[in-house]
Each structure stands twice: as C-alpha cells, then as structure tokens.
C-alpha cells in the first residue's frame, strides 16, 4: 500500500510539478498520458495556485527514467499544461500530511502520545477507544512513525501525497 510506495529513493520514483490552466478535463488528459505508458501514479495533489486561473499538481510516479522523460514531454505537449518539471534530486522542500486513527484505550494512551510527540505529530481527536493523530513532514518521518504505531491497531490511514516547492529564488 501507499506506505511502501511513497518516498522510496530507488531512482525510479519521480516527483513532478505540473502547472496547468484551470480547465475541465486537464486532469483526465494528464492521467491518460501516464496510463497509456503503463506508469502508476503513486500520489497526486491538485490545488489552485496563487493566480486563480491556474492549478498546481504534484505527481509522484514510479517507472524507468527514460519512459518518464517521454511522459514529461508528452504532458508538456498538452494544450492546457503550462509546464511539467521533474524535481527529483533538486533543492526542494517535499512534505506530506497523514491522518492516522489508532485503536487505543486509556491504558496505552501515554505511549501513543509519546510516539506522536517524538515525531512532532498532534492528537486531533480522542475517544474511549481511539485516537487520531495528524503527522506532517517528510514521508520518511511519517513512515517511521507508522512503523512504531504498528504494535497498536491502525484503524484507518489517510495520506495526502507529497507536495513540493523549490527552495529560495528557484521557481517550482
């Protein structure tokens, strides 16, 4: 599942930033390009950019680099795509957010909170039998926290997928 796909530095995982004109169908067109070449999209985040007419997508995908180079070219070719850039290995900030619902009663609450505290996660919901944690940051950090929480029953897990931004003056 997503835990294993995200953030692995195997050279075949690429993080792309795509700026698109905010028009209907543009997501479907981009998804078509990936699907046709047999690439799996591991995570995908879409949101409007500062300029209201445009949207920003962050796509994490796995596959051989040559094939991915072709995909980037073909995505760039789409009429509604402003630009598509591979930021893998560049000086970027790359973060994600995860919500984790853990099955935990009163007796183990402290241990879960300790783990959360260590990773800078917060408790955002609490019931007699469960606790929801919100973790943000590098995917590796989220993975490590999830590994420690495995001894408790994880009821539900939602990750946003990665978002990225280039550092300093560099444009994303």
């Amino acid at each position: 599942m997503a835990m294993q796909q995200n953030g692995r530095k195997d050279g075949n995982t690429h993080t792309l930033s795509v700026t698109v004109a905010n028009k209907p169908g543009v997501l479907a067109r981009i998804a078509h390009v990936f699907a046709r070449r047999g690439f799996n999209i591991d995570s995908l985040v879409v949101s409007t950019s500062v300029e209201g007419n445009f949207s920003r997508m962050t796509i994490t995908a796995t596959g051989d680099p040559a094939g991915l180079g072709q995909i980037i070219q073909q995505v760039n070719k789409l009429v509604d795509v402003i630009h598509c850039t591979d930021h893998t290995g560049e000086d970027i900030v790359l973060k994600e957010l995860a919500l984790i619902k853990v099955h935990v009663g009163a007796e183990a609450r402290n241990e879960v909170l300790q783990i959360a505290d260590h990773f800078g996660a917060e408790s955002v919901d609490l019931t007699e039998t469960s606790m929801m944690l919100m973790a943000t940051g590098d995917s590796e950090k989220v993975d490590a926290m999830l590994a420690l929480l495995k001894k408790f029953k994880i009821i539900e897990l939602v990750r946003t997928g990665k978002v990225l931004m280039a550092r300093g003056e560099l444009p994303t």
């Binding site: 040559a66 009429v79 795509v81």
Partner: protein, 575 residues
C-alpha cells in the same frame, strides 16, 4: 442581421466563415438540426457536403486537408454520429492532419444521464485529439472556434474536437464574433531554432562521407521541400522518404532512392544500413521504417529535426537534434553546409539501384504494379494519388513517383482501411481542377463505398482503381510467409460486381481483366469526366509485395525478391 439576434448555431457558422471554411463534411441528426437550420438562416456560402457515413466524412475532410494543406471541418450529430468519427479522427491524429470535428451534444442538463443519443465523445476522443472542447455557453463559441483552428494548424497539426450541447447552439449569442484566444499553455515557437544545434549538425554533416537524408511528412507540412532539395543537391547526398514523406523530395530526382522501410526499395534500405550519417527531417522514426529500433543505423551519426519535442528520443535517441520548423532549420543548415565528396557513395548506391530494382512480371496475369505504372505513365505522374491500405498501398508507394507535396495521400500511422476512396473525394473537392486517382483494394473499398452516392451527387471525376484480388491480400501474404500458408479469415468471397455496383449508383463502371487491356481501359477511364469512374481490376490473386523486411527483423534482413515458386506449384490442389 444584428449581432444580438444571433443564436449559438448562427454564431458558429459565422465563426467558421471567418476562418475561411469552404466545405463542411458530415451528416445531420437530432441535436444538430439548429446548426443545419443556421446554414439556411445565415445564408452562408459554406457548402455542406452530405456524406453517407460519418467515418467517411472524416476521411473526406482528411483528404481535403492533405491535398490542400488547409484545415478541414466535419459536422456530425451526438452519440453514434460522433463515435463514427473516431477512426477518422485517430487517422488524422496519427498523420498530423489539421481537422476540426464539430459534434452535436445533448442538452447540458442531460449530460451523464444516458440521454437519447448521448455519448461522452469529449472523453472518448481524448487520447486521439490534439485538443478538445465541450462548449458551455454560446458566447464561448468565437474563442473556441478560433483556438481550435489555431491549435489544429500550428506546431504539429492535428484534429480538434468541439462538442456543442444543444442548449448552446439554440441559446442567445450576445457578444462579439471576434474573440481573443486564451491559451497560456500553447505557445508554439517554431521560429525559435537553436542556432548552436544547427551549427553542430552542420559540422557533423561536413565530416560525413556516406550521408543519407531521410524526409518525412513534417517536411511537407512545413513546406521544406525546396530547402530539402537545395540541401540534398548542395551536399550531393541521397534522399530516402517515408510513406508519408513522398512528395517532400522529387522521386524522379537522381538523388532519390524512394521509400525506405518494411516494403521500401532495396537501395533505400541498403543506403540507410550503410550510411555514416542519417539526417532525419520531419519523420518520427515510425517502427515500420526501423526494423529493430536498437539496430537501426547503428554505425551512423543520427540527427533528428522535428517540430514536436516529444518525438526526440521516443523511438531513436539521436546523436544530434534540433527542435523547430523543418523549413527554417533546413534553410539554416543550407547556409552552413558545403558540398561533400560523395562520388564513391553515390556510385555504390547506383550499383544497388541497378542490381536490385523494383520488379515484377507482366506475363503471368494482370498485376497491380502494372496498373499503377500504366496509370502513372498515362497521367504523366501529375495526378493526385490516393491509396487505401494494404498490398496495393505498398505497390503504389513503390511504383508511383511523387514529385510534389500534397500529391500523395495515404493513411500511414493508422493504416486505416476504407480511407482511400473518401479521401480522394475530399482531395477532389479541394482541388477541383486537378486529376485525382485512387488506388484501393477490394477489402478497403467495401468499408466506405457508400460514398459513391456523394461522389455521384457532386459529379466528382475521381478515378477509382479497385485492385480486386478477392483477398485481404496483405494478411494473406503474412499467413503465407510466416504462418505456413494457413489461410484464415482472408478470402473475400461474396464480392459484388463492382462495375455494376458503380453503375447502380450512377457512376461509370469499367472492368479490367487482362494485362493486354491495361492501356485501353485506363485510357477510357481517364477520358470520362462527368462523374466518378470505378475500374474493377481483376488482378492475380496471390502476388506478394517485395522487398519486405519481416516484422521484428533488421533492415539488413530484407527479402528482396520472391523466395521461390514452390508455393505456386501446390496451388492448384489448394484452390
């Protein structure tokens, strides 16, 4: 008519007029009635050509576009009318043909509710269009039409779909017919050529001793033909063309080696195999010319000039490349190039031309090649030649020499059977003064022959030569050569009498059965100009196309001539 009195459909017609549209090919239906009404109420000069099938309408538009270089327009209704255009759109997309397909759509409020004749044509066509629109409001029509024509005709051309819900075509139009485009993601700059790349290519050229220039359809679209000819002559370099590049360089020129690839000439393939530099101008290195991609031209410096950046490195990773308009890049190269000493190389290639010519025997029955050569001779090679897909297409490519761009129309990338006849009609609409001949197979012709009606209505003097071997010949050839002659699904028993069929439509129908009558019958066909003329040519059943590079083999492994006659011996028993 005051602008504020227009409805969406009338605005559409006005916008198409503004784009200089001369013909619209298509078929009406429920949701497009308002648009057909607008043909009448606007009093437009645009001529609507009523076809008999939407697929044929798209091929007709395709033929018009390829023969004139101008974009062509198709108008169909929603649902099946729209889905019938899919093959034609995909054919145009594969071969970079500028086409605008306007499809009617059900009311926007009914979208997604399985309304009568609703099809998500916007979604269905997504992988085979250059771009597409689902129009939301009548006032968007001017911008959408302008953008559609701009996108279809610039950069690497292609088909654009405009899906127009009925509420948009009947809704009030309340704005200006002129609109600004809004295409922040589409800014083709073919003139922005990388001068350093051109310099590097020119230097590589200067070091070549066995150069070959490969030209594709990109050179035709960009009108690079004069520049390519000048460059070839300046370098003294031989030229090979792709199936779609025929006409980009005169094939009657001494430096021409004809078509390369799976059924290319032996000398073109040998040239490509032995060259030390390959300069590709506007071809996308289609798999049908490569043999085994990794082995293609492996000892040569490979140079790729293409307007589409995504073609660079797609099939072949070039040593040097330049993204840009084929004409502009070639003209820049021309300035920097100097004559090469290719005397030995040309001598060797001329030896191949002499030793491995295209050949066939005229003695044992009526041959497709014979018909093609005779039509070529009797028309002085000046006709627009249109082909369908299959064996006759490859023989046409081999024996019909094309000297001018826009005079050769063939479905290359898609290999669409049924393309040839309607495309020839479209070419004749676009070039009413020119002679148009179509070579089709008996299989492909039957896929779109309903357009005989359209041809007769408009008295189009197209000459259609049906190469009737009562087989799906190319598949039969593969079965014979690679499947131990196990024939399966290729016998076209039940063919009609094509000459009688043509006469039933009101066309002229002729029969050609004997090699001895070739000249007589073709002369008769060429003399008939009151409408279409169909010549049913009863060619030998089992001729194979050679040379042939078998699928999955290198160009070096080409079979130049028929391997033997053993098959023909066992034939009487089999038949």
């Amino acid at each position: 008519m005051a602008i504020n009195k227009l409805d969406g459909a009338q605005a559409l017609i006005k916008c198409l007029e503004n784009e200089g549209v001369e013909y619209i090919f298509g078929i009406p239906g429920g949701v497009t009635i308002p648009i057909f009404d607008a043909f009448v109420t606007t009093g437009t000069k645009i001529k609507f050509i009523l076809c008999r099938h939407e697929q044929a309408a798209t091929h007709m538009a395709d033929g018009y576009a390829r023969a004139t270089g101008r974009p062509a327009v198709v108008l169909v209704t929603s649902g099946p009318g729209a889905t019938n255009t899919l093959t034609g759109i995909m054919t145009a997309h594969m071969d970079s043909v500028p086409m605008i397909v306007v499809s009617g759509q059900v009311l926007a409020t009914m979208l997604g509710k399985d309304a009568f004749q609703e099809a998500d044509i916007y979604g269905i066509t997504m992988p085979v269009v250059k771009h597409s629109y689902l129009v939301h409001a009548p006032n968007d029509i001017p911008r959408v039409v302008r953008e559609a024509f701009h996108i279809a005709t610039t950069g690497r051309p292609g088909p654009v779909l405009i899906d127009l819900p009925k509420n948009v075509s009947v809704g009030p139009f309340t704005t200006d017919l002129r609109a600004e485009m809004d295409l922040p993601g589409y800014q083709p700059r073919p003139e922005a050529v990388d001068k350093d790349a051109v310099q590097a290519i020119a230097e590589a050229l200067s070091r070549a001793t066995r150069p070959v220039i490969l030209v594709g359809r990109g050179a035709i679209i960009a009108d690079a033909c004069a520049a390519v000819k000048a460059l070839a002559e300046k370098l003294n370099a031989p030229v090979v063309t792709t199936l779609l590049g025929k006409g980009a360089f005169p094939e009657t020129h001494p430096l021409s080696l004809g078509m390369l690839g799976m059924h290319g000439t032996a000398y073109a393939n040998k040239a490509v195999t032995e060259c030390d530099l390959l300069l590709n101008i506007g071809s996308r290195f289609d798999d049908r010319i490569l043999g085994i991609p990794g082995q293609f031209c492996r000892n040569a410096v490979k140079i790729h000039i293409d307007i589409d950046p995504s073609e660079i490195g797609k099939m072949i990773v070039p040593d040097l490349h330049c993204v840009g308009d084929a004409r502009l890049v070639t003209e820049l190269l021309l300035k920097q190039a100097s004559r090469l000493d290719t005397a030995d190389w040309l001598k060797r290639l001329n030896g191949f031309k002499r030793d491995f010519p295209l050949q066939y025997r005229r003695t044992d029955g009526l041959k497709v090649q014979h018909v093609i050569e005779e039509v070529y001779a009797l028309t002085g090679g000046r006709a627009v030649a249109v082909t369908d897909v299959g064996q006759h297409q490859m023989w046409s490519a081999q024996f019909w020499k094309v000297d001018q761009r826009h005079n050769w129309l063939s479905s290359g990338g898609a290999g669409t059977m049924g393309y040839g006849f309607p495309a020839a009609l479209g070419a004749q609409f676009g070039r009413p003064k020119d002679l148009v001949v179509a070579f089709v197979g008996d299989g492909g012709f039957q896929m779109t022959l309903c357009e005989l009606a359209t041809a007769c209505v408009h008295k189009l003097p197209v000459k259609v030569f049906i190469m009737n071997n009562r087989y799906l010949g190319m598949v039969r050839q593969w079965q014979e050569m690679f499947y131990d002659d196990r024939r399966s699904g290729v016998d076209l028993e039940g063919n009609p009498d094509f000459a009688k069929l043509a006469e039933a439509y009101g066309a002229r129908g002729l029969r050609l059965k004997r090699a001895a009558d070739v000249r007589k019958i073709i002369t008769r066909a060429l003399a008939y100009n009151d409408g279409p003329c169909v010549v049913d040519c009863h060619v030998v059943k089992e001729e194979n196309v050679f040379p042939m590079v078998p699928a999955g083999k290198m160009l070096e492994e080409m079979i130049v001539t028929s391997p033997g006659k053993s098959r023909e011996k066992k034939q009487p028993a089999a038949r």
